[in-house]
């Protein structure tokens, strides 16, 4: 029977299909693992509600655990508490930056609805300059925004804080 730590170690090798530099554990979507004699139960929370990768992530988790010798795998989805990028570890943030994606800043909390963009500049993951401009808050995947660095002229993705 696998230990809980061994299950986490396997999950740490399952990449996010859209941002393969980080694992599903780095992403902070693994909310719980329960191991019994004949079953491993993994509780995940979705990143974005409409993220098309969620189904694939579940399949990847299942096959990685089965390959590691799990007798059976059950995956539960929970909505509360809602996923926040604040759950991402510092290691994960560094991996994102090294991969060319600006890591998320702190997520907004509280119920206030702000209609103007936050002013904090996003540092370019390539040259470190904070002379960057937001091109669009919606990018190639649900979790990313598009920025352009005005110092090195490189367009880059930001993992949005949510």
């Amino acid at each position: 029977m696998m230990s809980r730590d061994e299950v986490y170690a396997v999950l740490a090798t399952v990449p996010d299909p859209e941002v393969p530099a980080i694992s599903v554990v780095d992403l902070g979507i693994i909310r719980d693992v329960v191991v019994t004699e004949d079953n491993i139960r993994v509780t995940v929370t979705p990143t974005y509600s409409g993220c098309p990768a969620m189904r694939e992530i579940e399949d990847d988790i299942r096959s990685a655990l089965v390959a590691a010798g799990a007798p059976a795998v059950a995956i539960d989805t929970v909505y509360a508490p809602a996923w926040t990028t604040d759950w991402m570890t510092d290691t994960a943030r560094e991996k994102l930056r090294a991969y060319g994606i600006a890591p998320p800043g702190p997520a907004e909390h509280g119920g206030l609805i702000t209609l103007s963009r936050r002013a904090a500049p996003v540092a370019c993951p390539f040259c470190g300059s904070t002379k960057t401009r937001l091109q669009s808050e919606f990018g190639s995947t649900a979790c990313k925004a598009i920025h352009v660095c005005q110092s090195c002229r490189q367009p880059f993705d930001e993992f949005k804080a949510i």
Partner: protein
Amino acid sequence: MSESEEESTGYATTTSMTATANVAGVRASPVENALFEYVTRLGDDRLILGHRLSEWCGHGPILEEDIALANISLDLVGHAAALLKLAGELEGKGRDEDALAYFRDAVEYRNALLVELPKGDFAYTIIRQFLFDAYSVLLWDALSNCKHEQLAAIAAKCLKEDKYHVRHSSEWVVRLGDGTEESHTRAQNALNDLWRYTGELLSHDAIDDRVAALGVVVDHDGITARWNTMVNDVFSRATLATPTDGAHNQGGRSGRHTEHLGHLLSVMQIVARSHPGASW
């Protein structure tokens, strides 16, 4: 909106008492399961609007906007999937989110008329989106505090994503309204046309009263007031004139739709109905 404006909390004990007390006076609705009906309305609004937005995929005025509208569409369809899954569980007749989305006819849909109208030009799509987003963030804010645990969880999740949506649509409203003569005219025409459908979005009926008795209490007057503040502020920055009356077109909540919904459903449901149970 001002940063200092008080946050809506969705329910308070006093409101709750009043709402419960009112229920006895409400005419019995033919709907057996008010919560199923209520959650279906929430899901249908987002499914239909999400589908309308998806029609822009590959047709956006600029690349970034094409991507943004597709992203928002995906979020809304994701919200709809979670809501209709919950609705199916509340109904307890074995229907899941796909059964509800693909195998109901127009008369069984409960979305507000606003979201089923054709996408129109880009100004029309953006004005509609902003009118809806502004309402949606306020509603989720309230519902994230409601006493139905699963609905509150979905609401908290949707609120985070909808905050991005309303920021995006409100910025475009200002850009179009306070843009060129052409963009201003198109935005104003869209607003004049769409305003007629906003009353239904903000209205409440016996279903709302019945779910309030179950702990899903929403301060409708508070939401309407805050919605008016938000849209008036944005329209004034956009130099657009907010229509003052005529927000009277309704019927969607009871299944009386415009001709447009049937056409939309025929596109959305054709694959599922032609190949029931197919997987790929």
